[in-house]
Amino acid sequence: MTSLWWILAGIVALLSSGVPALLGPRRSVIRQRLGAALMVVGGALGLTGLALALRDPRPASLDLAALASLGRFSVAVDPISIVFLAPVFVVPVLGALYGLGYWRQSENPANGRKVSFFYGMLAGSMALVVVSRDGVLFLVAWEVMALAAFFAATAEDDLPAVRRAGWIYLVATHVGTMLLFAMFALFRQATGSFALSPVPSEVCGTGLASGIFVLALLGFGFKAGLMPLHVWLPGAHANAPSHVSAVMSGVMLKMGLYGIVRMASLLGPGPVWWGAVLLVAGVSSGILGLAFAIAQHDLKRLLAYSSIENIGIIAMGVGLALLGRSLNRMDWVVLGLGGALLHVWNHSLFKSLLFLGAGAVIHATGTRQIDRLGGLAGRMPRVTCLFALASVAICALPPLNGFAGEWLLYLGLFGTLGTDGGVSWPTAALAAAALAMIGALAVVCFVKLFGVMFLGGPRSGAAIAAHDPGMTLLGPMAALAAGCLVLGILPWLTVPLLDRAAENWAGGGAATIPPILSVAPLSWISVMGVVLMGAVAALGLPLRLLLRRRNVASAGTWDCGYARPAFRMQYTGSSFGQTLAALFAWALWPVRHAPQIQGFLPTATRYQGDTPDTVLERLILPIFHMAERLLPRLRLLQQGKVHIYVVYFLLALLALLLWGRLGN
């Protein structure tokens, strides 16, 4: 019980962290530091609460009836909440410390206070979303989160691109919220109250439950950024300040997944197609998200598309867990959900690290264009190391944390073959091959990003003058990197929590859940990770000695005999991803402005290629433009005179009255 009070105190500290800045002068750095200190306090309080809740065998809950007039204030912490709360209490806190150097109020007097205030609001409301156990409270927290993210992300609202991204986000998030309203209405019909409690057994598996599930999938899918619903995500992430992008991508997207996981738990076992739908959505988000990412030129848009991919991987895990629950295969449940939840943590670590690293690069060079960078490794060696680590981690390569989560998921997908002679559903195993493709595509994406930005030579003047940032920026990044390493080498540390979360998720009535370690020998991952690092060190040290002893000559890169090589001739990010972008052209619909080159001595000309978001540009915006053309005709109804509106009221009431009479 005390654990919940600690967590609530932490939430209050997070929510109010921006207040000192808001009440102070525009350029006050001290107020911003005070806000960051409040964030640290909030994070510490929250993590203490989580540690206490971990030791508490029963979920803590609190129901304040005194606030009945405002709706029930009902909150609780169970293992699923703990999993989703942990990133909320870690990533935004580190981001706030990073913001002290990255978005200094003294340098951003126009919007510094706004960012500080809504940043804290965003963090606190996300924590409230995860602990709330009442539909109304949930929606209130959800809306505060959505709006806080809007204001924090549109810090530089004097730029047209930022305003446009902000509007798209606002529309998308409210379409999602609208679907959630419908979902909670149906949910209330199923359970009789807004309380987030399991639906009665007679509703399980009915059409009503499926309706709730579909609405939850769509409504929360908008927030999570599952593939056709991701339209707001690239623009909003690209145009927000980098520490806000880190929180949005690392933590806020997970709130959508939390919603799906929570509702799937409350709805109980459903038909097989629930899991299948999520698996398909996950696979398509994963593959297409990366295809789009590879085709991007903008550093932060690329990272945003890669977030869609990671959300897809998590969705695959949840889909597998749903499938396992429908077919009563509890090992799939534990591996699917365990892999998904571990990936929630992993992604919040390495993606935040990548966004903070991107922020450091943008801070140092002033550009987000990958193809204008290059050779930063020599100029920003510390950021390079951290970014390289995050890139390896996000490609799910051993020995870092991405591998452990995906490995659990792979084991679950291989399990659907029914190799132990039990129930099988081998169609799901196709997702293992898709996941392999996702892994290979991620390597393309992040070798491109890391290699083109940091390695080679500088492609433009922007990259020449870059240098490492100070400890304010590097410290939070190093903390995230340490998290990636620890979870990669010691993934079994999370197992007790994951076991309990899976049990909590599947509900008490289900068959017994096998412990993760009985189906997945995670200790081997530790052993192999240590062996791998040890072997690299064992071979690297003699090489270092050799480099000292032998004659080491320096020369330019082999230029194949060309007399005047220049760094601008290096392979660019666009050319690196060109083959794949061409193979995925059916989905990417790239826009190319290629000039016709004619004659023996053609004049100077330009080539431009871009990959806008297919769903947004080819589907959503045309629909909105059509609506813009057609809907003004309805303005006939809007005369702006009060008595006309009163007539509408009267007519509407009469119509309802008639309907009621006829119905009887």
Partner: protein, 304 residues
């Protein structure tokens, strides 16, 4: 006994790979009517490279130095997960097949990053091809693993690769034949042999693996070459399980059989290189997609 087999495994894995390159080159020479380099030429080359000094490009960083080390270590670790012939792998645990694939992925990450580190557009081109083609060979490999897991009922690489012997071969022969074809294409593609890549060409525009290591020299090039031959050995051992799952009663004979099979595989690779031309670069993805389709159809045939 097990300890001795593990010792033989490690010894064979560490010493035999360069011989495969010699056998391939000897086969190609015979086809071309030449005498060709000695069988042990790769060993002499490695010894020579290891004695040399370094020439390191001024644009490069630690990534360039780390890549040969990481790629060699990852391939060697992957080799410890693959059983040789009828013997169990030194390391086997549930899910090691996935680690196997991802270790090769880690090696690829560093090799391609090092290629970009030199700042040469040729090496960038090779790196782009390497990572792009992997997007098709990885799913093909996993389809093959799925087929083997389904047939054998095991999730360890050792179990998967020894498993097909246990069941009646007729029931699963059709999927296995498809998987053999798919795995052979993966073997050629991952090791950059004809028809995907030509290890002998000096025309940078058409190469994949060789072009990525243009700037590596001396001991670094030695590590790269040795790692490449080790990869051929490891993937070859994996392939041989499915293609030639034979064994005798005694351990000694089984080791001899494995060595003979491995040399035979090198001869086959050499023959293919002698009678085929390299594919045009835009056609390589189609070949790899074909490999994925072979393995995928094998999977569908099995679980239908």
């Amino acid at each position: 006994m097990i300890t001795i087999n593990i010792l033989i495994h490690v010894l064979l894995m560490l010493t035999m790979p360069p011989l495969l390159l010699g056998v391939i080159n000897k086969t190609k020479s015979l086809f071309a009517g030449r005498v060709g380099p000695p069988l042990f030429q790769a060993y002499y080359d490695l010894a020579k490279l290891m004695r040399k000094g370094f020439v390191i490009s001024t644009t490069t960083t630690w990534v360039f130095l780390a890549a040969p080390v990481v790629s060699l270590v990852t391939v060697a670790l992957a080799g410890l997960l693959v059983p040789l012939g009828s013997f169990d792998a030194p390391i086997a645990f549930i899910g090691d097949a996935i680690l196997f694939a991802y270790l090769l992925g880690l090696g690829r990450f560093f090799t391609t990053a090092a290629a970009l580190d030199t700042g040469s557009s040729f090496e960038g081109m090779g790196a782009a091809r390497e990572v792009t083609f992997a997007c098709f060979s990885e799913p093909a490999l996993f389809f093959a693993l799925l087929v083997l897991a389904k047939i054998s009922g095991s999730l360890t690489l050792t179990g998967m690769l020894h498993g097909p012997l246990g069941v009646s071969l007729q029931a699963v022969s059709a999927p296995l034949i498809l998987v053999v074809i798919g795995l052979f294409i993966i073997l050629l593609a991952e090791n950059c042999r004809i028809p995907v890549d030509d290890p002998n060409t000096h025309l940078e525009l058409t190469m994949i693996h060789e072009v990525m290591v243009l700037d590596h020299g001396g001991p670094l090039l030695g590590l790269v070459l040795y790692g490449a031959s080790l990869k051929l050995f490891v993937l070859g051992a994996l392939f041989l399980h499915v293609a030639a799952p034979f064994q005798f009663g005694s351990a000694g004979l089984n080791w001899l059989l494995f060595i003979a099979e491995m040399l035979g595989l090198a001869v086959v690779v050499g023959m293919i290189e002698s009678v085929m031309a390299r594919l045009r670069m835009p056609h390589v993805p189609y070949l790899l997609i074909a490999a994925a389709l072979f393995c995928g159809f094998g999977f569908i045939l099995l679980v239908r």
